[in-house]
């Protein structure tokens, strides 16, 4: 029952005249990591958004714990964290306020946990500044802090290392490693491949 497992069966997605996903299939169990690669326009983002249930595939289905996610989307979403291209942050709120609202809508979070998460991503010095004054890399780090705070079994990440320096990329690695060690699942679209330190990575290459 508690076995978190994501299965994807024969996904076909069209966008206008383009056949974006052509029969994508895979299965991923607890502790598994899947990296989705492919050139620009190969449908990485579309695949991730389809997995989340935002886009409706023409054919095929996504199963979570053996059940079609469409049957109970709210329950599936409660088990899911999705990070898109851009960190979902408000420019006119501080990093801390952003996290308080974004995460708070989903779960209760103690101030101490919030501080710890911000500290962890190196935001101790700037977490009370408005997000509009932060660099792209710092914003990405705020998003990572949010990811860590959500504590959900399934992570779906779109280019999580964009704009990050070496230290930031190591942070992504350790976050992913912890999530996998907890028995969580990680699906990440990446351009250059995840760093080698993340072991047991399976790869899904989307054709152009």
């Amino acid at each position: 029952m508690l076995d978190e497992r994501l299965e994807v069966e024969n996904l076909h997605l069209w966008r206008g005249e383009r056949h974006v996903l052509r029969g994508v299939r895979f299965a991923l169990g607890g502790g598994g990591c899947l990296e989705v690669t492919g050139p620009n326009g190969s449908g990485k983002t579309s695949l991730l958004r389809t997995l989340c249930g935002l886009m409706y595939p023409e054919e095929g289905q996504v199963l979570w714990k053996g059940e079609n996610v469409r049957r109970d989307l709210p329950a599936f979403h409660a088990a899911l964290a999705y990070l898109g291209h851009e960190p979902p942050l408000k420019a006119d709120l501080s990093a801390r306020e952003n996290l308080r609202f974004w995460i708070g809508i989903r779960r209760r979070v103690a101030a101490a946990d919030l501080d710890a998460a911000l500290e962890r991503v190196g935001g101790g010095g700037w977490c009370d500044r408005l997000v509009r004054t932060l660099s792209a890399g710092q914003r990405r780090r705020v998003a990572l802090a949010g990811l860590a705070l959500l504590v959900v079994p399934l992570w779906i990440l779109d280019e999580p290392t964009t704009n990050l320096d070496t230290e930031g990329q190591q942070l992504v690695e350790s976050l992913i490693a912890e999530q996998l060690a907890r028995g969580g699942l990680v699906i990440a679209a990446v351009h250059h491949g995840l760093p080698a330190t993340v072991r047991d990575v399976r790869r899904l290459e989307l054709p152009p």
Binding site: W14, R15, G16, E17, H19, Y56
Partner: protein, 245 residues
Amino acid sequence: MTWTWFHRLASPPYVYGLAARLTPWFAWPAALLIVAGLWGGLVLAPPDYQQGDGFRIIYVHAPSAWMSLMVYTTMAVAAAVGLIWRIKVAHAVAASCAPIGASFTFAALVTGALWGEPMWGTYWEWDPRLTSELVLLFLYLGYMGLRAGIDDTQRADRASALLAVVGVVNVPIIHYSVTWWNSLHQAPSVMRLGKPTISAAMLLPLLMMLLGFTLYFVAVLLVRLRSEVLARERTASWIREAVSA
């Protein structure tokens, strides 16, 4: 077993072929009825005792007004079906309805105004029915504007379907509010006519026109439906046959 007809009706190739086959079965009776209705309405029906020959506008005004409402209802029902069951053909029906409905709403407004001038002494009267008709035209225009504003057909289908459903929930409220408002501001100067006593010779052509226009709507809808179905279909297997014919 009971659902097979439903599934067949959701299948684009089946619908495409069916629409092509059915069109003449609606088009020709429609043409006959409309011609007969025109003859009956313009020539055979006696002049109204109050409105004289002016009442003959009813034979084009009433069918246009009927179309404007009937097409909107059809559109909203098709849109709801498409929205709930994600049936592409239903969205194609809804999308086909809008331009037809909008043009007949326009015709109803113009013929209503042309009827109003000799009867009320003014082209435009803020009468609840004319006002509701005008609002309906804006609802159609909004629907078409929304479709035109969204590039992706699938998203345009779903967004406009939602609008059609919201609109159909609102139409009775709008009509009620306009009637309520009109009852407060009854203009005394306008001549109000009692309902004309309609004789059989007057009524029969009207019924023929109403039925003729309805069949005509189905025929035009079927032609439009084919084009909308083609535009939504990407799998080539049946399209090749469809377009080579």
